[in-house]
């Protein structure tokens, strides 16, 4: 995720202090990974240097968290361009799981057990996310659903691979 663009976007509704920005970010997007203060200040100083934000005021007391930032016109354009740009789909072509399966087969280990163990691990996380979703608000549900759909895709791949293990084994060993 582009932290710079996200902080800029949060500034569009009005000027904010550094600590306020961090809090807004964590509340909405930082469920599992809250921002470090250091990240906020390094990002803000970069945005400042690039003319995307300006300092709107400084509260007495000193320290970097006392600066109040406002987005500039260039900043608004930057957010707009970022939002309009489709994200590049992740191709997932370098899968560790695929490598592990092939190596298991190559070395005569049990690849079916490996796939079973992986399924159990994926389902464990899916259960956790499903529980979090049940107790959460709409934002939680959407965040968890995104993760759940990706995990589900992995699991479908596991099942397809499990069904074709014999063929794969004869190919990698030939």
């Amino acid at each position: 995720m582009s932290i710079g663009h996200t902080l800029l976007g949060l500034l569009e509704s009005g000027p904010r202090h550094g600590y306020d920005l961090k809090r807004a970010f964590d509340e909405r997007f930082g469920h599992d990974k809250p921002l470090h203060y250091g990240q906020v200040y390094s990002t803000m100083s970069r945005l400042l240097k690039n003319g995307l934000v300006e300092v709107d005021g400084i509260e007495p007391g000193g320290g970097p968290e006392r600066k109040r930032y406002a987005i500039t016109d260039a900043g608004v354009t930057d957010v707009e361009t970022w939002l309009a740009q489709p994200e590049k789909p992740e191709p997932y072509l370098q899968s560790t799981l695929y490598t592990k399966v092939v190596l298991s087969l190559l070395t005569g280990r049990n690849a079916a057990d490996l796939l079973d163990g992986q399924r159990a691990e994926h389902l464990r996380l899916m259960r956790e996310l499903t529980r979090r979703k049940a107790g959460g608000d709409l934002a939680d549900q959407l965040i968890c659903d995104h993760a759940l759909f990706h995990l589900e895709a992995d699991l479908r791949w596991l099942e397809m691979t499990a069904a074709r293990l014999d063929r794969l084994a004869s190919e990698v060993r030939s």
Partner: protein
Amino acid sequence: MTPTGALLTAGALRKTYGATLALDGADFGIHPGEVVAVMGPSGSGKSTLLHCLAGIVRPDSGEVRYRGRELSAMSDAERSALRRSDFGFVFQFGQLVPELTCVENVALPLRLSGVKRREAEARSTEWLDRLEVSDVAGKRPGEVSGGQGQRVAVARSLVTGPRVLFADEPTGALDSLNGERVMQLLTEAARDSRTAVVLVTHEPRVAAYSDREVVVRDGVARDMAGVA
């Protein structure tokens, strides 16, 4: 597997259909209030396992015990009575009687076991409400959406307070959002009433509503609790 306190267990189940081996030594166990997903590829024996557990199909060998009683030692009449009194069923399609209204459909198993109409319909209305479909009570199945119909079917499967609910791809015909809501309501209701749920599914996101999974492959069931 015969864990202590298990409600329903199966050991070394074998079942063939003609030349096809559907179950080849399957074990299974479930406790009250537990939701167990039975997963595996098509043709792996998932549904046969469910049918054996529910006493619908008699295995060629092996045993199924419900509260310590061996199902195959019961007469057909005893097994039917057990299915009516202690088991609930929900499937993927076509379970509702088209000529009856939704509330009458839910009330049907109660009526069959002799509950008076007024009381049966009152209890059914509560279940329809719980499944968030009280507004379709007076409609016939043909007049409601697939998601509503499936919730009615879930209400019907739980109205008798079964100790075991057998659910075979219960959300298979629904879109994701409806399917998930049905799973959420079904598992909440089952856990509240300590009903054990045997959930056959090939969908991982449906299986994620379970407490653990049993994977069936080539007729062998493997309990994945403690794996990985």
